[in-house]
C-alpha cells in the first residue's frame, strides 16, 4: 500500500486491460472511459479502485446491451474484407480479380487446418454481411420524426409488405373488372406448377424484413399471397410472388441412373452398388431366376442367420411383388451384420430399377406409407433411404432424405467472431 501509486495505477489498469480484452468487439471508447476513471483515483483508494473498475465494466456492459454495429463500422469491415481477399489471392498465387468465395474457403481451410468437429467453429472468412447480423438503420431523422409512415405500428417493413400485396390484389381485381366490363375476360386459369417450390419459412421472412414476426402475422401474409395466386395475374405480380418462394430440390430423383446390361450366355442382369454405414455391397440381379440369393459365395441363409437381415433382403422383391422371380449374386464387405444387410438391400433396389417400369421406380422412391410388414418394426419410408428409424450415414449419397437438413439458416449467424478481415495475417507478415 505504501508502494508508489504510479506503478500500482499501472498494475490496476493492466489488470483492467486483461479483463476488458475478453470481449473482442468492444468499442475503444469503453477503455478510454474506464482509464479516465482509473486515473482520477488516488493512491489511498487503490483497493476501492479495483472494485470500482469491476463495477464500472459491469455498468458499461449494461449500457451497451444492444450491440449495434454502426454503419461506418460495417463499411470499414467490408473494405477490410475486400483488401484481405486480395491479399489472400496474392498469397495463394491466384488472380485477385476472379477470387470467389469458394476459393476463399478453400484457401482458409488450407492455411488454417482445423480438426474441430463442429464446422461452425472452424476459421472462416466471409463477407461481413454474412457474419454480422443485419440491423436496421436509424429510422428517424435528426428532428426525431420517423422516416417510414408505418413506423408507429412497430413492424414497419412487415406492414408495408402486406400493404403492397393487398394493393396488388386490388389492382388485379380492378383490371379483371375492367376486362369483364369490356367482355374480354377469359376464364382460363393457368395453374403454375407450384410443386417444385415452397413458401418462405417464418425465419426466412424475418431475416428479409429484419424484424420479429409472430406466427399469426406470418400466416396472414401467406394467406394473402395465396389469395393473390388464385387470381389471374400478370408478369409483375408473378415476380412479386416468386420472391417469396424457394425451390425444393428433389434430391433422390437426380441420383438414379439406370443402365440395363446383358451378359454372356444371354442372361439379362443388372449390377449396382449400395452403401450403408461402412458396409459396401455390389449386387447383380438376374432378370429371370428362382429366388436364389448368394452372398459372397455362400447362401444367404448361412450368411445371415438372423431373420431380420433376411427380411431386409426380401424387402425390395416383396415391395414389387417379385419374390421368386430373380436370382441375386452379391458381394459385400465392411460394416456389421445389419449394415451389410442394409447395403445389399439398397444395391438390390437400385439394380431392380433397371428391370422394372418407370412408375414402379417412382413408387419405390416414395415408398408407400400403408405398407405392412410381417415382423419388422420398421415403418415404411422409401426404399432408397436408409432403414427408417436409423440415422442416415454420413457418406450416404443416395439420401432421398428431403426431410433432413432443410434448414441451416443459423449458419448465417455464426457464433464465432473470428474476424473476416485478415488482420492477424497482416500482423504476421510484419
Amino acid at each position: 500500500m505504501a508502494a508508489p501509486c504510479v506503478s500500482c495505477g499501472k498494475a490496476v489498469s493492466y489488470r483492467f486491460f486483461l479483463g476488458a480484452r475478453v470481449s473482442l468487439a468492444r468499442e475503444q471508447g469503453l477503455w478510454k472511459a474506464a482509464a479516465a476513471e482509473v486515473q482520477t483515483g488516488t493512491a489511498s483508494q487503490i483497493l476501492r479502485l479495483r472494485h470500482t473498475t469491476v463495477v464500472s465494466t459491469k455498468k458499461n456492459i449494461a449500457a451497451l446491451r444492444r450491440e449495434t454495429y454502426t454503419l461506418d463500422f460495417i463499411k470499414k469491415q467490408i473494405e477490410e474484407f475486400n483488401i484481405g481477399k486480395r491479399h489472400l489471392a496474392n498469397m495463394m498465387g491466384e488472380d485477385p480479380e476472379t477470387f470467389t468465395q469458394e476459393d476463399i474457403d478453400r484457401a482458409i481451410a488450407y492455411l488454417f487446418p482445423s480438426g474441430l468437429f463442429e464446422k461452425r467453429a472452424r476459421p472462416i472468412m466471409k463477407h461481413p454481411e454474412q457474419i454480422f447480423p443485419k440491423q436496421r438503420a436509424i429510422q428517424w431523422g435528426e428532428d426525431g420524426r420517423p422516416f417510414h409512415f408505418l413506423f408507429y405500428t412497430g413492424k414497419p417493413s412487415y406492414y408495408s409488405l402486406m400493404h403492397e400485396a393487398y394493393g396488388k390484389i386490388l389492382d388485379v381485381e380492378k383490371h379483371q373488372n375492367q376486362l369483364r366490363a369490356q367482355g374480354l375476360f377469359s376464364e382460363k386459369t393457368k395453374t403454375k406448377d407450384l410443386i417444385g417450390s415452397r413458401w418462405l419459412i417464418k425465419e426466412e421472412l424475418e431475416e428479409i424484413l429484419v424484424e420479429k414476426l409472430s406466427d399469426q402475422d406470418y400466416a396472414q401474409f401467406i394467406r394473402l399471397l395465396e389469395r393473390l395466386l388464385t387470381l389471374q395475374r400478370g408478369g409483375a405480380e408473378e415476380e412479386f410472388v416468386q420472391r417469396f418462394r424457394r425451390s425444393v430440390t428433389i434430391q433422390s430423383k437426380k441420383q438414379l441412373i439406370e443402365p440395363v446390361q446383358y451378359d454372356e450366355q444371354g442372361m439379362a442382369f443388372s449390377r449396382s452398388e449400395g452403401r450403408r454405414k461402412s458396409a459396401e455391397a455390389e449386387a447383380v440381379v438376374y432378370a429371370h431366376g428362382s429366388g436364389r440369393v448368394s452372398v459372397n459365395g455362400t447362401d444367404y441363409l448361412l450368411y445371415f442367420p438372423v431373420t431380420q437381415d433376411r427380411e431386409q433382403l426380401m424387402f425390395p422383391f416383396h415391395f414389387l411383388d417379385r419374390l421368386g422371380k430373380h436370382d441375386v449374386a452379391c458381394t459385400v464387405s465392411g460394416g456389421g451384420r445389419a449394415a451389410q444387410a442394409g447395403a445389399i438391400r439398397l444395391a438390390v433396389a437400385r439394380a431392380l430399377c433397371t428391370l422394372v417400369t418407370e412408375e414402379e421406380v417412382e413408387w419405390m422412391r416414395q415408398g408407400s406409407p400403408g405398407q405392412e410388414f410381417q415382423q419388422g418394426t420398421e415403418g415404411m419410408t422409401s426404399l432408397f433411404s436408409p432403414m427408417s428409424g436409423m440415422p442416415a450415414g454420413k457418406t450416404h449419397s443416395a439420401g432421398g432424405d428431403s426431410k433432413a437438413g432443410l434448414w441451416n439458416h443459423l449458419e448465417a449467424f455464426s457464433f464465432t467472431h473470428l474476424v473476416p478481415g485478415l488482420s492477424c495475417l497482416k500482423g504476421w507478415d510484419c
Binding site: H288, G291, T298, D299, Y300, L301, L302, P305, T307, R310, E311, L313, M314, F317, H318, F319, D321, L323, G324, K325, T357, Q371, Q374, Q375
Partner: protein
C-alpha cells in the same frame, strides 16, 4: 399389398412387356376367383400334406412329402429321449406327432430293408446343413426299426456327453478313464423304457463284479445290469459299457437285430470342454462312455446297422458353417468311420414346402391372415430359404 398387387397385375396385362407379365396377368383373374370362393382347393392340399399310412415299412416314393401320424403311446415307448426339443413342443401343442416322409429317410429305409445281416454292419451317415432335418430323419428310421422289432440303441445327442458334465469320477474299471454317472444313468433309464421286452430275453455271458457285495452272474438277464446301473449311480458308466459289449457280441447270434443310432456322432472325435481338477483338458477317449461308444460304431460286428448323424449345432469348437463329414469329424473320425454311406439331407423341395405349410394351416398354427395366400407363402419361402428348421421357427411367430 395383395389386392393392390392384383389390380396392378391386371392393369399390366394390357402393357406389352416380356411375356413374363402376360403370364402373371392371365393368372391373376384365376387367383382372384380362387380367393373369392375360398373353399374350393381344400381337397388337394389334404392329399398333399397327410397320409394315412402309419407304418414306416410301407412308406414309398408316393408318400414323399406327406406327414404320417405316430400314435402317442408308440411315441413314448419308442422315443423316451431322442426327439428334438422343438418337435416335442410341437407334438404337445398339436396333440399329435406327425413326421414328414422325405427322400433321405426313404433311401435309408430302402437300404435297411435290404440289409444282409451276415455282413458286417453298414454305417450310414446323415449329414447336411443346420436345420435340414437330420435328427427327425433319424427318428423316422428308429420308428421303422422299432416297428420291425429291432433293438434300438439310441444315443440322442453325443454332444451332451462331452460338455457341461458335472461329476466326473475316476473309473473303477480302468484307472485311466473317467466316468460320467449322471449322463450314464439317464441314458440307461431311457434305454430301459425303449427296449423293455429285450431286457429279459438277452442274457449276459460273463460274470460282472460290481463291488464286494454285488455282482451279476453269468446267464442273468440284461435287465439286471441295467437295474444295477440305474440304482447304483456310481457304476452306471460301467453298466453302459457292459450293455454295449454284450449287445455287440450277441447281435451276431441272430436273436435280434441291433440298430445303433447316434446323433451328433462328431462329438466322439474332437475335443471336449471338460477339464480335470488341475485344469488340464480331457480328450474324448478318456471318457469311458465315449470310449465304449467308439467301439460300438466300428463295423466289426454283424447283425444290424449303424445310422449316424452329424451335427454342428451342439458341437464344440467347430465353425458354424461346417457341415461336411470331413470338416465335422476331423481326420481321426473320418478314418475311423471310413467306409460309410453318406446321405445328404437337404432343404425342402417345393412340394415338401407346400406340404409343410398345409400341415401348419390344417392345425391352425398360422394365424396371420396372409399366411395362406400365395404372397405369404412366397415370403416364407424366401425368408426361410426352404430350410425346415428356419421355417418352423418363423411359423412359430405367426
Amino acid at each position: 399389398t395383395m389386392l393392390k398387387g392384383m389390380t396392378r397385375l391386371i392393369s399390366r396385362v394390357h402393357k406389352l412387356d416380356a411375356g413374363h407379365f402376360l403370364h402373371t396377368g392371365s393368372q391373376a383373374p384365376q387367383n382372384l376367383a380362387a380367393h373369392l370362393d375360398n373353399q374350393v382347393p381344400v381337397e388337394s392340399p389334404r392329399a398333399v400334406s397327410r397320409t394315412s399310412e402309419s407304418d414306416p415299412a410301407k412308406h414309398g416314393e408316393q408318400h414323399e412329402g406327406q406327414h404320417y401320424n405316430i400314435p402317442l403311446q408308440d411315441l413314448k415307448a419308442v422315443f423316451p429321449h431322442g426327439l428334438p426339443p422343438r418337435f416335442v413342443m410341437q407334438v404337445k401343442t398339436f396333440n399329435e406327432a406327425c413326421l414328414m416322409v422325405r427322400k433321405p429317410a426313404l433311401e435309408l429305409l430302402h437300404y435297411l430293408k435290404n440289409t444282409n445281416f451276415a455282413h458286417p454292419a453298414v454305417r450310414y451317415v446323415l449329414y447336411g446343413e443346420k436345420g435340414t432335418g437330420k435328427t427327425l430323419s433319424l427318428c423316422h428310421i428308429i420308428h421303422f426299426c422299432a416297428k420291425q422289432d429291432w433293438l434300438i440303441l439310441h444315443i440322442p445327442d453325443a454332444h451332451l456327453w462331452v460338455k457341461n458334465c458335472r461329476n466326473l469320477l475316476q473309473s473303477t474299471y480302468n484307472k485311466q478313464r473317467l466316468d460320467q454317472p449322471l449322463e450314464a444313468s439317464i441314458w440307461l433309464k431311457n434305454f430301459k423304457t425303449a427296449n423293455e421286452r429285450f431286457l429279459s430275453q438277452i442274457k449276459v455271458q460273463e460274470k460282472y463284479v460290481w463291488n464286494k457285495r454285488e455282482s451279476t452272474e453269468k446267464g442273468s438277464p440284461l435287465g439286471e445290469v441295467v437295474e444295477q446301473g440305474i440304482t447304483r449311480v456310481r457304476n452306471a458308466t460301467d453298466a453302459v459299457g457292459i450293455v454295449l459289449k454284450e449287445l455287440k457280441r450277441q447281435s451276431s447270434s441272430g436273436i435280434f437285430h441291433l440298430l445303433v443310432a447316434v446323433d451328433g456322432v462328431n462329438a466322439l472325435w474332437g475335443r471336449t470342454t471338460l477339464k480335470r481338477e488341475d485344469k488340464s483338458p480331457i480328450a474324448p477317449e478318456e471318457l469311458a462312455l465315449i470310449y465304449n461308444l467308439r467301439k460300438m460304431v466300428k463295423n466289426d460286428w454283424h447283425g444290424g446297422a449303424i445310422v449316424l448323424t452329424l451335427s454342428q449345432t451342439g458341437s464344440v469348437f467347430k465353425p458354424r458353417k461346417a457341415f461336411l463329414p470331413q470338416e465335422l469329424l476331423g481326420k481321426e473320425g473320418f478314418d475311423t468311420l471310413d467306409p460309410f454311406i453318406p446321405i445328404l439331407v437337404s432343404n425342402y423341395n417345393p412340394k415338401e414346402f407346400e406340404s409343410c405349410i398345409q400341415y401348419y394351416l390344417e392345425n391352425n398354427w398360422l394365424q396371420h391372415e396372409k399366411a395362406h395366400t400365395e404372397d405369404g407363402k412366397k415370403e416364407l419361402l424366401f425368408l426361410s430359404n426352404t430350410n425346415p428348421g428356419q421355417l418352423e421357427r418363423l411359423c412359430a411367430y405367426l
